[in-house]
């Protein structure tokens, strides 16, 4: 196997981790994938804070629970990245929301959207060659898919691989299934028109 883990000065340098195929998981690739997952967890922590502010009752409790889960995942990833000799990426001061979040319904859709993004990020970890990291990524992907299904009330065929259109408007799909994460469809407001700006990303302050 490889010799040693080259220390990376900053998280940004982990980006150029794309390696030639067929080589064993070079530490840079692992760091890059973990940094991407960490960035997604940062965004999720921020986003759940926004979502929780627009929820109440059982939904708010579910959001608080998921918020804590993402905080724990964030910390775990940061520790893993540090152990690989790299500097964990920092959270942005603020994030641009994918759509306006002013209602409980939009908040629920934001939560599902955040989970989709987290799932996609962990799929990058699944691509790593190291078995331990691959399984870690797969389990995290599954957890995100479960939370997304809980919020959305329906499942995706390919969590992490497919990106459902961001937006609070569920195209008339009768989500008759009560969502475990968000028990009842209680105070759903009329869905706001989604202007669907680009996806959530670090906002320019």
């Amino acid at each position: 196997m490889s010799a040693s883990i080259p220390p990376l000065a900053a998280g940004a340098s982990a980006r150029g981790a794309g390696q030639a195929a067929g080589r064993p998981a070079a530490p840079p690739a692992a760091v890059g994938a973990l940094q991407a997952a960490l960035a997604a967890e940062h965004a999720a922590v921020y986003g759940y804070g926004v979502a929780g502010a627009h929820l109440s009752g059982a939904r708010q409790r579910a959001a608080a629970q998921d918020w804590q889960i993402h905080q724990a995942s964030r910390d775990a990833l940061a520790a893993m990245i540090t152990a690989l000799g790299a500097q964990p990426v920092a959270a942005a001061a603020a994030y641009r929301l994918p759509f306006p979040v002013r209602t409980g319904r939009a908040a629920v859709m934001l939560a599902a959207y955040l989970e989709d993004r987290v799932a996609t990020a962990y799929l990058g970890v699944v691509a790593l060659s190291e078995a331990r990291l691959r399984l870690f990524g797969a389990r995290a992907l599954e957890s995100a898919a479960l939370r997304a299904a809980g919020w959305r009330g329906r499942t995706l065929a390919f969590p992490g691989l497919e990106a459902p259109a961001p937006g609070p408007v569920l195209s008339g799909s009768g989500t008759s299934q009560p969502a475990p994460g968000a028990p009842t469809a209680g105070s759903s407001s009329p869905g706001p028109a989604s202007q669907s700006p680009p996806p959530t990303g670090p906002a320019g302050a």
């Binding site: 799929l123 990524g137 797969a138 479960l146 969590p159 992490g160 475990p180």
Partner: protein, 175 residues
């Protein structure tokens, strides 16, 4: 003497004919060696698993049609899983596994699952839930044996199946 030698020669020639033919066949077979790579095996297993899952859903739907509402979307996603998996399986046109191709459209009754399907909605949901959980576990167990891109697909399908199991579970509503 002469006659015997001739006879022997003829016999030898006759006996060697099938050997020559076999030899040619052997050389031809060497041109396309049967290569069963681990990921191909995993892929085939996954295809079989999805096919079985689809037959389970169909059997349940036949026994408990009232479940069509919640089950149809899940069944459709299994169809998507199967299609995506099969698209990855590149087999030689002369592959000796013809049973794999028509498996998708095989009659639902062709599976062992069709014989033992619970008749009540709750039991049927529990049955499928358990099957989904087992399928997800099995896929996760094979992740490290395959190349990265296939691992991603299998992990994604496993996550989908785990979320199926979640929705098949008992509805959590405050009474």
């Amino acid at each position: 003497m002469v006659r015997e030698a001739t006879r022997r020669a003829v016999l030898a020639a006759v006996v060697s004919l099938p050997l020559v033919a076999t030899g040619c066949k052997g050389i031809g077979a060497l041109g396309t060696p049967p290569r069963q790579q681990p990921d191909v095996t995993v892929l085939r297993d996954a295809i079989d698993g999805e096919t079985l899952m689809i037959s389970r859903y169909r059997a349940v739907l036949a026994a408990v049609p009232a479940l069509a509402g919640p089950l149809d979307p899940l069944l459709q996603q299994h169809g998507e899983h199967l299609a995506r998996l099969r698209a990855r399986l590149i087999e030689p046109s002369t592959a000796g596994r013809p049973e794999h191709s028509p498996a998708v459209t095989a009659s639902p009754a062709a599976s062992p699952a069709a014989t033992a399907v619970p008749g009540t909605p709750a039991a049927a949901r529990a049955y499928l839930r358990q099957a989904e959980q087992a399928a997800a576990r099995e896929l996760l167990g094979k992740l490290t044996a395959v190349p990265p891109s296939l691992a991603q697909l299998l992990a994604s399908i496993a996550a989908s199946e785990a979320s199926h199991a979640l929705l098949l579970g008992p509805a959590r509503r405050a009474p």
